[in-house]
């Protein structure tokens, strides 16, 4: 089961001219503005005037990897609690207002960031900013709202993880991959630690991390930079810094010396599968060009039905029902690349794994073809053009980059850097990063004895 993967960090403009090797006269991407308010709040404006709609997002540079050990799940729990109201706007008023005007809202938490967003028609921007600025520092929590919300989060853990054998395996694999870094903890938290989280925990975390100088405001849609600047200064600009935020230095990984394996057995598993995570650099920790190379490598190996893994294992050898690979590059610290396969019936997980290894070896030894390289780059760069059609996607790309150590410029120039990747670099990346000592292999099975001994 493929790790949920996003094609993070991509860009939107200045790229059309060179797309696919032909020239484009017709269009360029949005003219993105980027500035910082006096209180330290960073602002990105992504104009898209096609529809009178806006996407308003606030991203905080805090996620599950910033939690104190023993309090796993706190970043995500706090995300839920941000909907519980402030002194000025009691519980439910923000959500009711957004609903009444026909808006959409939600929030999300990753290991590195926590974000809140609304989508509404354009004339409501100021009001959204007032509400969001208010809950940046004005949260009020009482046990009568916090306790039921903790139950909600436990049900969320049931739904996403406990009820799902594949998700349980992924959790175990991440914990095994990271020997020292907090990325090994589940974002939603370990259940026994979630159960003990309190209002006090949440408020202490809030005061440590929720401050304008630790946040990024992204406004995409039918707006101008001038307009956003004026409104942001009148709303967010009035929020005083709560605290200075310490640099995000997390415990780093030691040298990995031993491949790990993890087996999860559940009677509900009908289709055994195997997957492997490799520890690899992220866009932030990589040397220049390295992440882009891994992005291209993962694409050639495992995205779509002309990928190496699919062609070799599903089409040619017929040993797998499915096979894929992917890379989640936007992270503050070292991240993962995955490869995965579901064997056909009659093929063991060991045979499946050997077949995957065979394909990885081929790429490491023989490299990739010019056509594979070209196709992968074309597709990745096209992602950035297609993203121009979706203000929400653009807002997410910039938000994720700016909260994981990236910059607006890095997002902008991403297609150029993808274009510069060479076949030789891809082969070298395969040699370097497909190192089993830096990996964990996970088996999803029905019964433990069904995993055969590897020789």
């Amino acid at each position: 089961m493929p790790y949920p993967m996003k094609h993070a960090m991509a860009a939107t403009f200045a790229l059309l001219g060179a797309f696919g090797g032909t020239s484009h006269a017709s269009s360029s991407g949005p003219d993105i503005a980027h500035f910082t308010l006096a209180n330290g709040l960073e602002v990105v404006v992504i104009p898209d005037h096609r529809t009178p709609v806006i996407t308003h997002m606030v991203w905080y540079r805090v996620g599950a990897a910033d939690e104190t050990p023993g309090k796993s799940g706190l970043a995500h729990f706090l995300e839920h609690l941000l909907f519980k109201g402030t002194k000025k706007n009691p519980q439910g008023l923000f959500s009711q207002t957004v609903a009444t005007i026909g808006g959409q809202e939600n929030a999300f938490t990753s290991s590195d960031y926590t974000g809140y967003f609304q989508r509404t028609s354009r004339e409501h921007l100021k009001m959204l900013m007032e509400f969001e600025a208010d809950r940046m520092t004005g949260l009020v929590l009482t046990d009568d709202v916090v306790k039921p919300e903790l139950q909600v989060v436990l049900e969320e853990q049931n739904m996403r993880v406990a009820n799902n054998p594949g998700a349980r395996l992924s959790e175990q694999m991440e914990a095994a991959l990271y020997l020292n870094h907090p990325y090994g903890r589940p974002i939603i938290g370990w259940r026994q630690e979630i159960e003990k989280l309190t209002s006090e925990d949440a408020l202490a975390f809030y005061r440590r991390f929720y401050t304008p100088n630790n946040a990024v405001l992204i406004v995409a849609g039918d707006v101008t930079a001038d307009e956003v600047k004026k409104l942001a200064e009148a709303t967010y600009g009035q929020v005083a810094r709560v605290t200075e935020v310490a640099p995000r230095v997390r415990p780093q990984e030691p040298v990995h010396e031993a491949p790990r394996t993890v087996t999860l057995a559940d009677p509900r598993v009908r289709e055994p599968s195997v997957q492997r995570y490799y520890l690899v650099p992220s866009y932030t920790t990589a040397k220049p060009g390295e992440s882009e190379t891994i992005e291209v490598l993962a694409h050639i190996l495992g995205r779509g039905s002309n990928s190496r893994l699919y062609q070799k294992l599903v089409v040619e050898k017929g040993v797998a029902v499915n096979a894929s690979a992917g890379y989640s590059g936007s992270a503050l610290d070292d991240t993962r690349m995955y490869v995965a396969g579901t064997p056909k019936s009659g093929i063991s997980l060991g045979q499946m794994e050997d077949a995957i290894d065979g394909v990885l070896d081929e790429v490491a030894q023989g490299g990739v073809t010019a056509e594979e390289l070209d196709r992968a780059k074309t597709r990745l760069i096209a992602d950035a053009v297609y993203a121009q059609d979706n203000q929400g996607t653009l807002a997410r790309w910039y938000g994720a980059a700016l909260t994981t150590g990236g910059s607006v410029d890095q997002v902008r120039t991403w297609p150029d850097r993808i274009r510069a990747v060479t076949a030789e670099q891809v082969r070298d990346a395969a040699r370097r990063w497909f190192d089993k000592r830096r990996s964990v292999t996970g088996y999803l099975v029905k019964e433990l004895q069904s995993v055969e001994k590897r020789s």
Partner: protein
């Protein structure tokens, strides 16, 4: 690290046909970008087009009537398998060559099977539009159904069915539909069963294709940097050579215009999972019913997709019993249902079901309040534009409006339709739809829940 823990379940509101008014919302001239042009191509195909020169891409959405309801009774899953194979080799191109052509130009083509439609989307950069429509033509007119591709896709579908066979959400859904529509195409699983999929042949799929993928039921929406003349030429290139007339299998008289069965029952399926999954539903309303808009507003108050519905408040916010809970209207050609879902721990399942049933009963008895109705109206009007902010979404709306026979002026009329609904309308329709109660399917090991 990219796993996102969304605060709310992404239970999609089925509001495909409920495009709200853009013009009314937005006095800005920007709104003019959604002007719909309707024209007939030289080959006689109707096209709805929205021109949008801002981004150099073309989004096409299209639909044929048919869907899984047209599967032969003993071969459930035919439409789904057929649709999965259209891009697995066509014309001179085998599967690998076809995918290579698609990927080399970063073209996106996908087909999805619904109960009564087969819908497709094509997205391409403008500069590759000819290649994209050529490949679409091949896929629709000359799919190969090579044995190797058929067996490969069959194995993938069966693999998925095997996985779903122990997935509580899937079991709950199948149980609900199977109980509500016994002996009816709606009661059959859209993707089939392991046995039925094993029996589907290339000829079955060719026959389905010839019967269903025809010009008479075709609906088309295009959005992008393209004019009507070019759009007409490209549409004809892809669709003009399809058969003119469909031969849809008629539904037996007894299966037409049916209401869901089993209202009042509770079906329990034992599965060893910590969290019980609950699917619940009852009567719905046809899209063509004069009371549709009243029902839609009432349903939004009860269980609609925002954080403010009655179900959300009672189940999640006040008591923390579930992460997500919602209910929506689903309308079909020959029936209509209200369908909802939630998931909760074993020792809270009984209470949760009782609360849901109480909210349905309260709505049936009292209807919404004036304040709730007013808010639902502003929600429905205001959320329109959000469904139209990408080319793909607009193209999808253009086709949904045609499938639901709403008329090209629907967008202009819609606000008035919403405003015309009175509190009495919503009370009347609540009693009519919800008064009989619910059919509930529960999967898990809930404590104290007894089948009835």
């Amino acid at each position: 690290m990219i796993v996102h823990w969304q605060r709310a379940l992404g239970v999609a509101l089925r509001c495909g046909a409920l495009a709200l008014i853009l013009a009314a919302l937005a006095p800005q001239p920007a709104a003019a970008t959604t002007k719909i042009e309707r024209f007939i191509t030289p080959a006689g195909i109707e096209v709805w087009l929205v021109r949008d020169p801002a981004v150099p891409l073309i989004a096409l959405n299209f639909a044929f009537r048919g869907g899984s309801a047209q599967d032969p009774a003993e071969k459930a899953g035919t439409a789904n398998m057929m649709a999965s194979l259209l891009d697995e080799g066509a014309g001179e191109l085998d599967a690998t060559a076809f995918h290579e052509r698609i990927e080399r130009k970063a073209i996106e083509l996908s087909l999805t099977t619904g109960r009564e439609t087969i819908r497709g989307t094509l997205r391409t950069l403008k500069e590759n539009q000819d290649e994209a429509f050529d490949l679409l033509r091949l896929a629709l007119n000359a799919p190969r159904f090579d044995a190797s591709a058929v067996e490969r896709i069959r194995a993938q579908i069966i693999s998925r069915l095997q996985r779903q066979s122990t997935n509580p959400n899937e079991i709950a859904s199948r149980t609900w539909w199977g109980t509500a529509f016994p002996g009816h195409p709606y009661g059959r699983p859209m993707n089939g069963t392991v046995e039925s999929v094993a029996s589907i042949t290339a000829d079955d799929m060719r026959s389905y294709l010839k019967r269903v993928l025809t010009r008479d039921t075709l609906k088309i929406g295009i959005v992008g940097d393209i004019d009507a003349a070019t759009a007409g030429r490209l549409v004809d290139r892809a669709f003009a050579t399809l058969p003119a007339q469909s031969t849809l299998a008629p539904l037996a008289e007894a299966l037409r215009n049916v209401t869901p069965q089993g209202i009042g029952r509770l079906i329990l399926v034992d599965l060893d999972v910590p969290q019980a999954v609950v699917t619940f539903g009852g009567l719905g309303i046809k899209r063509s019913d004069p009371d549709f808009m009243s029902a839609y507003l009432m349903s939004h108050v009860l269980g609609g997709g925002s954080f403010t519905s009655r179900l959300y408040r009672e189940i999640r916010e006040k008591r923390g019993l579930a992460y997500g809970v919602s209910s929506n209207l689903i309308w079909l050609d020959h029936s209509a249902v209200t369908l909802g879902g939630t998931a909760t721990r074993s020792d809270a399942t009984k209470e949760t079901i009782e609360l849901i049933e109480a909210e349905f009963a309260r709505m049936a008895k009292e209807g919404p309040t004036q304040e709730e109705l007013d808010k639902a109206k502003t929600y429905l009007k205001g959320s329109f534009a959000l469904g139209l902010d990408t080319s793909t979404k607009i193209a999808n709306q253009l086709v949904s409006m045609q499938l639901d026979n709403l008329g090209i002026d629907y967008i202009e009329r819609r606000s008035a339709l919403i405003d015309a609904v009175t509190l009495a309308d919503t009370k009347r329709v609540a009693k009519r739809l919800l008064g009989d109660g619910l059919l509930v399917a529960v999967v898990g090991k809930p404590q104290g829940v007894t089948p009835r």
